[in-house]
Symmetry: C2
Subunit: 282 residues, 2 copies
């Protein structure tokens, strides 16, 4: 496995590979890899000739008061893990390699980027779309892999690719969970022992909502019950949203439930923001 | 020469050409071709194996009160002209082929898009960047050609390409003028005989400004004199801007003149908006 820090160097390799007609699977990450990331690299390994994972903590997707600086980084550990599941290249550029001082160009997927996580994290998806498009243009992969834990991100990237005629297959990988069902996240590392124990409240609230939906309870009532359930837990310090939407478009559900539903929530356990979601196909 | 209306059909041709290692020169236009466009197609012809011109009146770059509907169209004439200077393909999709009903993704080059033409045409460059990026992604050309009459557009597209790691050479073609120095524009067609005669006031104001700059007159004074000169002509119905900026960055000039200067103006002759510019290398 090769670790590459410079765009130019990566391009040299890529030009060679493209001349050989190789298919390229790309897994963009912010590093501090866990089984969720590794499952994406494994998928990419199965479906492509060459697998490239990027590790780049993208400053443009963090708000000014968010955890850009303290976001966990461990390149040595990450490269061992990526290699162990078959990555051929890690692309890990510096901030200055990616963003020139006078960077001015941004990509936005309007409307879908201002609901759910976009409502509480203003500018977040603008930063995500911009870095993903840049990485797509640098790497020009055949397929790109994103985790379904950031389900809204997956919908937005798919929409961006469709709207901008980007010829890359965007593929979602299932959420990987701990034994007690907490969704894997690099941010779980921030949790204290007690917070970690109580973090399962998020999964439980989604399960509760699923049961209520299957019982035919109305959307607004389900949301209210799930919210109440979450706020009863004293480790839930802040509540960003609990939302139920049409799976593919993220459109609001007015009355009748559609065939495919997303239940998604974001809460703060102590100072750590956690997200999770369920997909229901009825 | 082939005229193609569908993205899929164009892609079939392009895949073949790319496998043969052909270089592709791309000239995006809104049609109603004049010698300015043709000079770009000629440049592309000299520098590439294959030349593709697009003809698409892009609704997203017109404001609600602008001339999208009445913008001149003449496909038969355009295709003859494009063929006469060596285009291999014309890509002329319908509005629905390019923008799906729920199109939501836009590209913006911030700051540079809100001065000059961007100040009077809100959202214009967002529409331009979005269509150009889409066409770039569809065609994936080696080189793309833009006229310097829309000099701000050229700077913005170059910046977008740099910021988004788009691997396409962006090339500017010189302004082509009538004998009396009016810059060629598809919109000149709107002018009445009297308006057409008086439209040369725009070129003359730029020449005046150039002389004053070469005489060492201060920026603000030059702008003021040029503005007064324009507004004295009773056919100048509205005045959008007269601006003097650093050529490559379009940064404001505070005191000392830089080595390379852009003088640019936009005025309305009757109901027709005209733009023009001079480049000064000192």
């Amino acid at each position: 496995m090769k670790i590459i820090r410079k765009i130019k160097e990566l391009k040299t390799h890529l030009t060679k590979l493209s001349k050989q007609g190789k298919t390229i699977g790309f897994v963009p990450t912010m590093g501090y890899l866990h089984e969720g990331h590794l499952s994406l690299i494994k998928m990419a390994r199965k479906e492509n000739d060459i697998v490239i994972a990027s590790i780049f903590v993208n400053p443009k997707q963090f708000g000014p008061s968010e955890d850009y600086k303290k976001y966990p980084r461990d390149m040595e550990r990450d490269s061992k893990l990526a290699e162990s599941v078959g990555a051929d290249y890690i692309f890990t550029p510096t901030k200055n390699e990616i963003y020139k001082e006078d960077h001015k160009t941004y990509v936005e997927v309007e409307e879908i980027d201002s609901i759910m996580c976009g409502a509480s994290r203003s500018g977040h998806f603008k930063g995500v779309c911009t870095i993903v498009l840049k990485l797509f243009n640098i790497i020009n992969p055949t397929r790109a892999y994103f985790g379904k834990k950031d389900y809204q991100q997956l919908v937005i990237i798919k929409k961006m690719a469709e709207d901008l005629n980007i010829d890359i297959d965007i593929i979602g990988g299932d959420i990987i969970r701990e034994e007690d069902n907490l969704a894997l996240s690099s941010r779980n590392k921030y949790l204290s022992k007690r917070e970690r124990e109580n973090a399962t409240v998020l999964y439980k609230s989604l399960k509760l909502a699923e049961d209520l939906i299957r019982d035919g309870k109305a959307v607004e009532k389900v949301k209210k019950e799930a919210q109440n359930f979450l706020l009863k837990n004293k480790y839930v310090k802040k509540f960003d949203y609990f939302d139920i939407r049409e799976l593919y478009t993220l459109k609001e559900i007015k009355e009748k439930y559609p065939k495919n539903i997303l239940i998604a929530a974001a809460i703060w356990i102590g100072n750590t923001r956690l997200i999770d979601n369920f997909i229901i196909n009825r």
